[in-house]
């Protein structure tokens, strides 16, 4: 589920459905330069590549981020896993009010170009709900599935 969401967020399902080969030697100068330009304080970078995309996993401000680049060096998006307490307060209080009986099975922040947001997957015994927040204040239903 997370892979599909990330794929849609970044503009291509193929991006995450394709296996990434872990080989840092394969990153092109163009992509490496684009990465360096975008993330000036990145540390401990490791690269992998699919047929059409490069993936960089790195540390910034003690957080682990994952960035995706096209072969042309275009930044497709960035993903960061979060704890619920790291969400903006209005999103936390909204979860408390509307989904108190659920547990969190997945939560991440995404960012691309000049927009960003959050996806959270909540579960209870009977269903799995994925919510999206694009404004940092309100959740909207992204997907809801019944458990078998």
């Amino acid at each position: 589920m997370k892979k599909i969401i990330i794929g849609l967020v970044l503009g291509s399902v193929l991006l995450v459905n394709t296996a990434f080969a872990a080989n840092s030697d394969n990153v092109t100068e163009k992509v490496a330069a684009a990465f360096k330009h975008e993330f000036v304080q990145a540390k401990e970078v490791s690269w992998s590549k699919s047929d059409n995309y490069f993936k960089a996993v790195f540390k910034m401000n003690d957080d682990v981020l994952t960035a995706y680049f096209s072969e042309e060096g275009e930044l497709m998006g960035v993903i960061r896993n979060l704890l619920s307490t790291e969400l903006p307060i209005s999103l936390q209080t909204s979860l408390r009010k509307s989904y108190d009986g659920y547990w969190i099975s997945d939560l991440f922040e995404y960012a691309k170009q000049d927009n960003s947001g959050y996806f959270i997957t909540l579960e209870n015994a009977g269903e799995r709900i994925t919510l999206q927040a694009t404004d940092g204040r309100n959740w909207t239903l992204y997907q809801k599935t019944k458990k078998q």
């Binding site: 960035v78 922040e109 960012a111 404004d135």
Partner: protein
């Protein structure tokens, strides 16, 4: 409209550090109900007022963090503030801060959540002096205030 103006006044006040004073009497039932509607499962609520603004401030614990929430005397919710670490800034903001101010020292970061918007106020020191920056979720940084070295 009044709410927006009060929210903006609040943003200014928040950056002015300690500004609230203890209330002589408890806020009205309307304000307390508005608080309970916005926040459930909170602890250690203390009420203060913002002098001259007609605003109540509730300081409390939520998810093991200290928050401040602001209400008008009519019970309108104006927003919350909380002190957060630099690592909690959104990716776009953290990255833009690193690009524009690579050698700056981050002194403090406040998250300011309002009913209509969300912003972060970041105080940094550089070789040229101190700056208070306002950031939005799309990574836009603007200088809010300058401090002489």
């Amino acid at each position: 409209m009044k709410k927006i103006i009060l929210s903006m006044a609040l943003a200014v006040a928040v950056l002015g550090s300690a500004f609230a004073t203890p209330v002589d009497k408890e806020p009205s039932v309307i304000v307390k109900e508005a608080f309970s509607k916005e926040f459930t499962q909170v602890k250690d609520v203390q009420w203060n007022t913002v002098p001259g603004e007609g605003i109540y401030e509730a300081k409390f614990t939520f998810n093991n963090e200290t928050l401040k929430a602001y209400f008008t005397v009519d019970g309108d919710f104006l927003g919350t503030t909380r002190l957060i670490s630099q690592s909690r800034l959104p990716v776009l903001v953290a990255n833009e801060l690193a690009r524009q101010y690579p050698n700056a020292h981050v002194v403090s970061v406040f998250e300011h959540s309002m009913p209509e918007s969300l912003a972060w106020y970041i105080t940094i020191t550089t070789e040229k002096g101190g700056l208070a920056l306002k950031a939005t979720g799309n990574g836009e940084l603007t200088v809010y205030k300058r401090y002489k070295p």
